[in-house]
């Protein structure tokens, strides 16, 4: 039923867009679904789309991997060394509140306008999210759960393997999942600022040429990539943390 309603909504939207655009003579600003589809097909057939998509996907994925690895490592380290964490706290918070995109000019200066700069930009964004989640996860282990296990005779090793590690892991994964769209943002924004390839470049290039249909086609491509990324994360989460899936499906109880 929902599926039918969704399809009906999509058809209505596309029809409204198509004929509304013609009737209001607004094609220059909002294009038309048929024109966008044509532009998209053209990009697909010429192989351009896949090329740019693979560039952006690589940048986002590399940024995600390096950023999250560094974030987990720093989170675990500072989670254990609490006095160091206290010293660094205001500085980390200052950096965290800085929109990472603002670092792009600096990164261009340092790393040029190649793929490295986008990877670094994506990694910088991801790092803080994963770092903060890991740090919180290590610090926020339930005291009660630890006490219950201690009463059962658990030693330190039991506590780490049965409570602390799994508890931190759920936080780490929450951070990873949260940061996936940000990796993509880092890559796309980097490409829009300075690049000659990638979906972000495709987008800004089309806009510069007033090719509205191509702009929408590029946006479509970015949405497509984001959905693939989220799908992969969801899949991995379902495999590694089956209890989380259950929580999502649970009905709300008051």
């Amino acid at each position: 039923m929902t599926i039918i309603a969704r399809i009906a909504f999509l058809i209505l939207l596309l029809l409204g867009w198509e004929y509304g655009s013609i009737a209001l003579k607004a094609e220059f600003f909002v294009s038309r679904p048929t024109a966008i589809a044509e532009s998209f097909l053209h990009l697909l057939q010429s192989g351009e789309f896949l090329y740019h998509l693979s560039i952006t996907a690589t940048e986002a994925a590399l940024g995600f991997l390096t950023g999250s690895a560094a974030g987990v490592a720093a989170g675990l380290l500072l989670g254990r060394l609490t006095s160091l964490a206290d010293v660094l706290d205001p500085f980390l918070m200052a950096l965290y509140s800085l929109p990472k995109v603002a670092l792009a000019p600096l990164f261009i200066l340092w790393f040029g306008i190649g793929m490295e700069m986008k990877v670094i930009l994506a990694a910088a964004t991801v790092f803080f999210l994963v770092f903060l989640n890991t740090y919180t996860g290590v610090r926020n282990v339930s005291v009660e759960q630890l006490a219950i296990l201690r009463l059962m005779g658990a030693n330190e090793r039991h506590l780490i393997t049965k409570v602390i590690a799994p508890s931190a892991f759920t936080w780490v994964f929450a951070g990873l999942r949260l940061s996936v769209p940000y990796a993509l943002i880092g890559a796309v924004v980097g490409e829009m600022i300075a690049a000659n390839r990638g979906l972000g470049f495709l987008l800004s290039d089309a806009a510069a040429q007033f090719d509205t249909a191509a702009v929408f086609a590029s946006l479509l491509g970015i949405i497509f990539l984001a959905m693939i990324f989220n799908g992969i994360v969801k899949l991995i989460e379902g495999m590694l943390m089956p209890w989380k899936v259950n929580e999502d499906r649970r009905e709300a109880t008051v």
Partner: protein, 288 residues
């Protein structure tokens, strides 16, 4: 109060004089926004090995605090708790504690949660699995071993916590309103099961409840606590024969007598409390 308790100890002397838990002059204060806030005021109690004690009192009166002290999770502000002859100064590994919240590990299945105490004791997988099946059957959760805690109801989670507690086979069990969230049928099943197991293994139980029927039905002695700061108002020996048929008990006149007595004690306490916080300041002013 102490005299009464001693008289009761004397009365029970023929059965067993082995004290396992002793609360001596227990006081406990917390800091509440800078002000000391007394929760427990001068509690003295001797619990004998194998005895089933119910602690009956209004909500928030510090019953859980007494359990936390016995478990070694909390120290009294003054006075001492001793267990098997030694003062409890660190975590007490000889007790099993079923807290009000179940504190199940959300990343483990029902069976995985019950397995924890068995894993800690290093029991091999085959024996562990067999024991888990027995425990699941005991708490009426056969077939639910593979579920995650988030997916089952609150009452079922309580039963998992109970199974986990029993898996550890502790010498003494501390229970904090364990059966509050259960339906009447399940509650009576688990109460009977608890009595049977404790009778079989000679387990000592400190059982916190605010349910008068439950307090009478399970107890050897029911300790009636007053409102905060809590002290012992009365200790009522429940001289009903064991093993007890918890359903049949309801029509027993002695049982009904005990319930009525406890109701009077509790109601009396409640009206006293109302009077204390009620109009007394104004009366005082008028007199002045």
């Amino acid at each position: 109060m102490q005299a009464k308790e001693m008289a009761q100890d004397h009365q029970r002397g023929s059965r067993n004089l082995d004290n396992i838990i002793t609360f001596s002059n227990i006081r406990k204060e917390f800091k509440n926004s800078g002000q000391p806030w007394r929760i427990v005021d001068d509690v003295n109690l001797k619990v004998q090995r194998g005895e089933f004690i119910t602690l009956l009192g209004p909500s928030g009166c510090g019953k859980s605090t007494l359990l936390n002290m016995t478990a070694g999770l909390m120290r009294p502000s003054s006075g001492s708790v001793s267990y098997a002859g030694a003062e409890v100064v660190k975590i007490n590994l000889r007790v099993g504690y079923m807290t009000q919240q179940d504190h199940l590990l959300p990343w483990r299945t029902v069976a995985g949660n019950i397995a924890i105490p068995l894993e800690i004791r290093g029991i091999d997988r085959k024996n562990r699995d067999r024991r888990i099946e027995e425990l699941l059957a005991l708490v009426g959760l056969t077939g639910f071993g593979g579920q995650y805690p988030a997916k089952i109801s609150g009452g079922m989670r309580k039963r998992v916590a109970l199974a986990r507690l029993l898996a550890a086979t502790p010498e003494t069990i501390l229970m904090d309103e364990p059966f509050g969230a259960l339906d009447a049928q399940m509650r009576i099943n688990l109460q009977s099961e608890l009595l049977r197991l404790c009778g079989q293994f000679g387990t000592t139980v400190l059982f916190v409840t605010h349910d008068i029927d439950e307090a009478v039905a399970l107890a050897d002695r029911c300790v009636v606590l007053g409102p905060r700061p809590t002290s012992i108002r009365r200790i009522v020996s429940i001289d009903l024969p064991r093993p007890r048929d918890l359903v049949g008990l309801r029509s027993d006149t002695r049982y009904q007598g005990y319930c009525a007595e406890l109701w009077r004690l509790m109601a009396h306490g409640a009206s006293e409390e109302m009077a204390a916080v009620g109009p007394s300041p104004q009366v005082h002013e008028l007199r002045a």
